[in-house]
């Protein structure tokens, strides 16, 4: 890329969710040792969420040397839209919604360079003679700003310069500016009509090209001189090799191409063996390579339509919006011809949790090293990506979005990134180094825990690990001091507490790789409580209303038992079941003592039991998770339930004058359904008992069936356990 050093406002990529926040003991792995569990931090997600200082976390779950950064909180800018590095090491930032150009000098001091009176300074680029152009929204104005005219941010500072617009292009929004050193022309990507303007030295704008889309969000000039434009809302990448000569390089499966950056032509590497010839640089015929950030969004709700002038009372406040979360991808397109044809697209990164705003291409990437850095829109991530699709979380800003990234070297000391919402500027003070640390997110043991071995693996050098613990989910004064560092895996010495953080320090060995961090712990053992034992209602009178005369009772020889427990320390539990007849005091085993249950339900075959009322006892024990002598248990009895395995008996039955008379008797009762069938034809129809209520073990039937002539009538009776008996009678 031979244009300017403009850092356009780009969009983003994704790691699989690199979440922050608390990690609870529910996620801790049960260790083989009795009662011991382990926090195992071995993936990018688990290793992220804490603090990275001079370290980064790769997608493979390695913690490696990364950026250590300083921080400047921006008091005069809410969201960083654009940035431009100056030769003296300071960085200009285009911010909104205040429409200012800020400057952060090498020492981190913030000053105001210009008040443009616009909503946002969306593009900054250096032109001929060090002239700095600032593109803005929403009136298509380009300003020329003087970085030396900055004023302080303190209230007593004089007013910042309010430059007049140098050029006003006939478009609402300027999204990208790029200066072509060869053509000596400034190009402006605009919206909403998809126009790219060529702005002459006097500020006069002339249409260079109009894309078949609405917004031109990103511009870059290829080494070949072709202008590349990324658009919204179709997500096109367009190559314009000459006025009127344009080629759609790629129609991405997304809504916008937020940023474009060209890879430098690979330089020839110095031969490791001086005697061997140097490898050849990539031949020009290999074509140009570019990286671009592509974003995709869901539907954005339409604002409420108002009539007339918008209304607002002074002092009125609004709830801040929750923000729009898109999805981001980073693509590499290599082998581009001069006119933008024949490129080979390859998606090298995708993130479904956020869209991305900024992109910086590493000028001379090392083999296997990062090729680009991208900044996210929703979670303040800076992610490095290599051509082999590897990625690493390099830094996480104290802001929602990363609006611009600038690299020194390949991301060396002096590199920077600026965040928005809230405004912040970070400068890389070193890579790895003596102060490099990785701090885990806060880990929650669930209960007060004693800590065991802190383990890790390293590659290429040593790191020291330490811990600190506390009773609160957020570290505060109640937390212990960091423990003395362990140079090799060993017992964590921090005091007993519920929450813990682990910190690794790099001891100056930038090449060291940390992986597989784990911490064993044992919590105080709390007894698991069985809170409920359930016996199915069918076939018993123990659970609410039993239907009679409606559904046919379900008959099964097995009884489905289930229970619930409250397990505060998340111990692995084992259950034992007993039963007894209600009138007995002796509990008898259902499960074998040596084969306790792990689940919370059991199908119990009761066919061998004598009829009658029973109870079941469920006992929960944490013996699996705790040593002998420390295991605790708790049991709970079920309500009484009826076991009835014998069908009723129809002791008398008669059919005369169209009336059916019968007596039905069960052992333990009650009879719950009586039904008849005439001449073997379905369906069975219910009949009532003499007293109209099916509630006794013996019921009488005297039912007029309205029959004329001779018929065969079948009577079927069910008891409450679902046992049934049928008898037929022929008569008139």
């Amino acid at each position: 890329m031979r244009s300017s050093r403009s850092i356009s406002f780009v969009v983003a990529v994704g790691l699989g969710a690199v979440g922050g926040g608390l990690w609870s003991a529910h996620d801790a792995r049960e260790a083989a040792a009795v009662g011991t569990r382990t926090f195992e931090l071995d993936t990018q997600e688990k290793l992220s969420g804490g603090e990275l200082k001079g370290t980064s976390v790769t997608a493979a779950g390695d913690v490696i040397a990364g950026w250590a950064v300083s921080k400047t909180t921006l008091s005069k800018g809410t969201v960083v839209w654009s940035a431009l590095a100056l030769k003296d090491g300071s960085v200009l930032l285009g911010v909104g919604n205040e429409g200012r150009v800020l400057k952060v000098d090498a020492g981190g001091k913030e000053t105001v360079v210009a008040e443009t009176g616009t909503l946002a300074v969306t593009a900054l680029v250096e032109g001929p003679g060090g002239k700095i152009y600032a593109g803005t929204i929403p009136e298509g104005e380009i300003f020329v700003v003087d970085p030396n005219a900055s004023v302080g941010t303190n209230p007593s500072a004089p007013s910042a310069p309010k430059p007049k617009a140098w050029s006003k292009v006939p478009a609402d929004h300027i999204w990208a500016l790029v200066y072509d050193q060869k053509r000596k022309e400034l190009f402006a990507g605009t919206g909403p009509d998809g126009k790219i303007f060529r702005v002459a030295a006097a500020g006069k704008a002339q249409i260079f090209h109009q894309v078949e889309d609405g917004q031109v969000l990103s511009l870059a000039i290829a080494p070949s001189g072709t202008v590349y434009a990324g658009t919204s809302s179709k997500g096109l990448l367009v190559a314009i090799s000459a006025p009127g000569k344009a080629e759609v390089v790629q129609d991405f499966d997304g809504h916008e191409v937020k940023a474009i950056g060209f890879a430098a032509t690979p330089a020839a590497e110095a031969p490791k063996d001086p005697k061997k010839p140097a490898p050849k640089a990539a031949a020009p015929s290999d074509g140009d390579s570019l990286y671009c950030v592509v974003n995709e969004y869901g539907t954005v709700p339409e604002p409420f339509k108002k009539f007339g002038m918008p209304l607002k009372q002074p002092g009125a406040s609004f709830d801040p919006p929750k923000g729009i979360k898109g999805k981001g991808q980073v693509w590499k397109i290599s082998g581009l011809d001069k006119d933008g044809r024949n490129g080979k697209p390859e998606r090298i990164y995708a993130d479904t949790t956020t869209h991305y705003l900024s992109l910086a291409v590493v000028p001379a990437p090392k083999q296997g090293g990062p090729a680009v850095y991208v900044g996210s829109a929703n979670d303040g991530k800076v992610v490095s990506i290599d051509d082999a699709h590897g990625s690493a979380l390099v830094a996480k800003a104290d802001s929602r979005s990363i609006g611009a990234i600038g690299l020194v070297g390949n991301g060396d000391k002096g590199s920077w990134f600026a965040g928005g919402d809230a405004g912040v500027f970070h400068r890389v003070t070193g890579v790895g180094g003596a102060d490099a640390t990785w701090t885990s997110k806060v880990l929650d043991a669930g209960l007060k825990a004693r800590w065991g071995k802190l383990n890790w693996r390293t590659l290429g050098g040593a790191v020291e690990l330490s811990t600190h613990t506390g009773p609160t989910a957020t570290p505060d004064d109640s937390w212990s001091a960091w423990s003395n560092p362990l140079a090799a895996p060993g017992k964590a010495t921090s005091p007993t507490n519920r929450f813990v953080q682990i910190r690794a320090r790099w001891k100056g060995n930038a090449a060291a790789v940390l992986r597989g961090v784990s911490l064993a712990f044992v919590t105080d053992n709390l007894r698991a409580i069985v809170t409920e034992v359930s016996v199915p209602s069918k076939g018993s009178l123990t659970s609410g209303v039993v239907t009679s005369g409606a559904d046919t009772p379900w008959k099964s020889g097995s009884l489905g038992l289930s229970w619930k427990t409250d397990n505060p320390d998340q111990d692995v539990l084992r259950y034992r079941l007993w039963y007894r007849k209600e009138e007995s005091t002796v509990w008898r085993n259902i499960t074998k003592d040596e084969e306790p249950l792990a689940g919370t339900s059991y199908s119990w075959n009761t066919e061998a039991l004598a009829e009658g009322w029973y109870r079941v006892r469920v006992e929960a024990s944490d013996e699996v998770s705790n040593p002998v002598g420390q295991a605790l248990k708790h049991g709970l009895d079920s309500p009484p339930f009826l076991v009835d395995n014998t069908p009723p008996v129809i002791t008398k039955i008669a059919l005369a004058n169209g009336r059916l008379q019968a007596t039905v008797v069960d052992g333990v009762g009650p009879i719950v359904r009586l039904e008849v069938q005439i001449d073997g034809k379905a369906p069975w129809k219910p009949v009532a008992s003499v007293d109209g209520i099916l509630d006794e073990a013996t019921e009488q039937v005297d039912a007029p069936l309205g029959l004329v002539g001779s018929h065969v009538v079948a009577l079927r009776a069910y008891d409450s356990a679902g046992n049934a008996v049928t008898r037929e009678i022929e008569g008139k």
Binding site: I137, W175, E212, S233, P303, P310, G323, R400
Partner: protein
């Protein structure tokens, strides 16, 4: 009436006619007479059967005595206020009973050999058939003398347009008031409406009496001159709930003193509060209770109870007391502008002779009717956040009404200019097309100029001073409308980025039906197979996009946003990309990332979302009427 009133940014008339000649004519200097202070009697000392007299003007400018006899005292009639009940005895009062306009008439009672001022005639009964009145005790009224003026009511040396005696250095009243909430518009900047302002104010002021059997403040007749009967009727609906009873009374509302007019107020003399004066006039009339030095008490009840204020006052002449079963009233006119109403309180008004109220000169040039004998209207209206928009609108309406009085079909435009101190001159265009008939003043409540006055004077950020209002009315006695009969797509689909052509069938009034082809580009942001709904609407229906104003300058900028021609039809469709508005800026058609970035989650200063439109206009030569919709399909690109 077509669309009543809309605005356009058009060149303004530079003619700023002034009322100067007449207004600055000063009377010859005469040493003023100051009413000697008089002894007073408190309500506690008043006994039934006490006799005395009252003073009021039945005709001319000289007060006439009438006898009174105390019926009794209603203690605690209002919070901290008693009410004396008296019979008023006078041949005229036997006929007219309780008279609107007598409010404030001083009542003196004989306490032994001395006549003592007891209070002001102020209350009566609706439909009362006896000449019995309620008297506001003088001690209650006197408390208002001692009420400190608003600290912002600064005495400023200034040149009065209508001055009292030259030896008196007039003080110019500040535009700020002590209690602006009484008459302020309570709403969002940009949402001003005169009608709702009237409702708000009438709700805050002077609640209705509980019943007709309850003593009520005697109404204040609002004598209207130079306005149509319709205007008076409309004013009645607006102002009567506030105790002001508009009466068509004639009289232009003096801007210059009559030759024989008294030089100063006297006890029992008639006083008018001049809300508008000149070629159209409105003045609330009552009676002076007592003059002390350069100040006076009057009315015995509030005019509207707006608190500290600054409205011009005048000595009034009474022509007659008209008798009515429901409400008798004085009819008269001002004869010498003098002083300013500075307090409008529950028990009295307070007027200072030496303060000159700020007023807004208003001039309307009437063009287009060669038979119109009066081509220029000059007025002054009160400078008040509540009153000014209303009276200015009535003045506009009156001018249009007078010009269209022959009720022919007519189209008219009203180009108004509002000169704002320190902010320049704002220009507004309104138009109207009527099949016949005269639009009333309330029709102009929706005028751009009338609403702008309300927006400006009720802005929540700073006090504004309206220096003058000028308007030019151009009338064309033709019903210049073009009605949309229908819209038809010429091609039911277009390629992305192609142009949709819509045939509009138009029917001019008294003209032949015609068609015109309007076109609008369907932007390439619409994907293939997407249907785009195109609306056809008159230009005057399209509101310009604007950000919610956050200061006076932004409000002014919004008021001056150019609007589309009312003589054009607009094709418009929603752009798929939304926009935002913030800090006076509107950013339409934004990509999604930008909408997200412009709405930071860390703060509550948020832009407002706006729907983006794509529009094209087609001039049709007459005021456009009617709307329609068509839908065009975007077809895949052929290349």
């Amino acid at each position: 009436m077509l669309a009543a009133v809309r605005s356009l940014l058009l060149p303004c008339s530079a003619s700023l006619g002034l009322l100067v000649g007449g207004l600055l004519a000063l009377p010859a200097f005469t040493p003023r007479k100051v009413s000697a202070d008089v002894p007073t009697i408190s309500a506690d000392s008043v006994k039934p059967g006490m006799k005395g007299y009252g003073l009021t003007v039945f005709e001319g400018t000289e007060p006439t005595k009438f006898d009174v006899e105390v019926i009794g005292v209603l203690h605690k009639f209002r919070p901290n206020q008693d009410l004396l009940l008296v019979k008023t005895i006078h041949p005229r009062l036997e006929k007219v009973k309780v008279v609107a306009g007598m409010s404030g008439s001083p009542i003196f009672l004989n306490d032994g050999p001395t006549s003592k001022l007891a209070g002001a005639y102020a209350y009566g009964w609706s439909f009362g058939n006896e000449p019995v009145a309620g008297v506001t005790p003088i001690e209650t009224m006197q408390k208002e003398f001692g009420r400190p003026l608003s600290p912002t009511l600064l005495p400023k040396a200034g040149k009065a347009p209508i001055g009292p005696a030259p030896k008196v250095t007039p003080k110019k009243a500040s535009l700020d008031t002590e209690d602006p909430q009484k008459t302020a518009w309570n709403g969002d900047p940009g949402g001003y409406s005169i009608e709702s302002h009237v409702k708000q104010v009438s709700g805050r002021l002077r609640p209705m009496a509980a019943s007709i059997n309850t003593p009520q403040m005697v109404d204040t007749p609002l004598m209207i001159g130079g306005m149509s009967e319709q205007a008076v009727k409309e004013l009645a609906t607006l102002l009567q709930p506030m105790g002001l009873v508009p009466l068509q009374a004639g009289g232009a509302g003096a801007t210059t003193p009559s030759k024989d007019a008294p030089l100063h107020y006297v006890d029992g003399g008639a006083i008018a509060v001049q809300l508008m004066r000149g070629d159209a006039a409105a003045q609330a009339t009552g009676t002076v209770t007592h003059v002390v030095g350069k100040k006076l008490l009057g009315f015995g009840h509030p005019m509207m109870e707006v608190g500290a204020t600054h409205m011009p006052t005048a000595i009034a002449k009474i022509l007659w007391v008209l008798s009515s079963d429901q409400r008798s009233f004085k009819i008269g006119e001002p004869v010498r502008p003098l002083g300013t109403l500075i307090q409008d309180r529950e028990s009295t008004i307070v007027v200072d002779e030496d303060i000159v109220a700020p007023t807004i000169p208003m001039k309307i040039d009437l063009n287009g009717d060669p038979t119109n004998p009066k081509k220029v209207w000059n007025m002054e209206i009160v400078h008040d956040r509540f009153m000014t928009p209303m009276w200015a609108s009535f003045a506009f309406g009156d001018a249009v009404g007078v010009t269209l009085n022959d009720r022919r079909d007519a189209s008219w435009t009203l180009k108004a200019q509002i000169k704002l101190k320190g902010k320049g001159t704002l220009k507004f265009d309104d138009f109207g097309v009527g099949p016949a008939g005269v639009p009333g003043g309330m029709a102009f409540f929706m005028s751009r100029a009338g609403l702008a006055l309300g927006e400006l004077m009720n802005n929540p950020w700073e006090t504004v001073e309206i220096e003058r209002v000028d308007a030019q009315l151009d009338v064309d006695f033709a019903r210049n409308t073009v009605r949309l009969r229908g819209a038809e797509l010429l091609d039911n689909s277009v390629e992305p980025g192609g142009t949709a052509r819509v045939k509009l069938t138009l029917k001019p009034y008294q003209g032949k039906e015609s068609t015109v082809i309007a076109s609008i580009k369907v932007l390439p942001v619409f994907p293939a197979n997407k249907e785009v709904e195109i609306e056809v609407v008159p230009g005057w229906m399209v509101m310009p996009d604007a950000a919610a104003p956050e200061n006076l300058d932004q409000l002014i900028a919004n008021l001056q946003l150019p609007e589309l021609s009312p003589k054009a039809f607009v094709l418009q469709y929603k752009h798929p990309e939304q926009g935002v508005a913030l800090a006076g800026k509107v950013a339409p058609k934004l990509p999604t990332f930008a909408i997200d970035a412009l709405k930071p989650t860390t703060g509550t200063v948020q832009p407002e979302g706006v729907v983006s439109y794509v529009r094209s206009t087609t001039d049709v030569g007459g005021y456009a009427e009617g709307t329609s919709k068509v839908r065009v399909m975007v077809k895949p690109a052929s290349k």
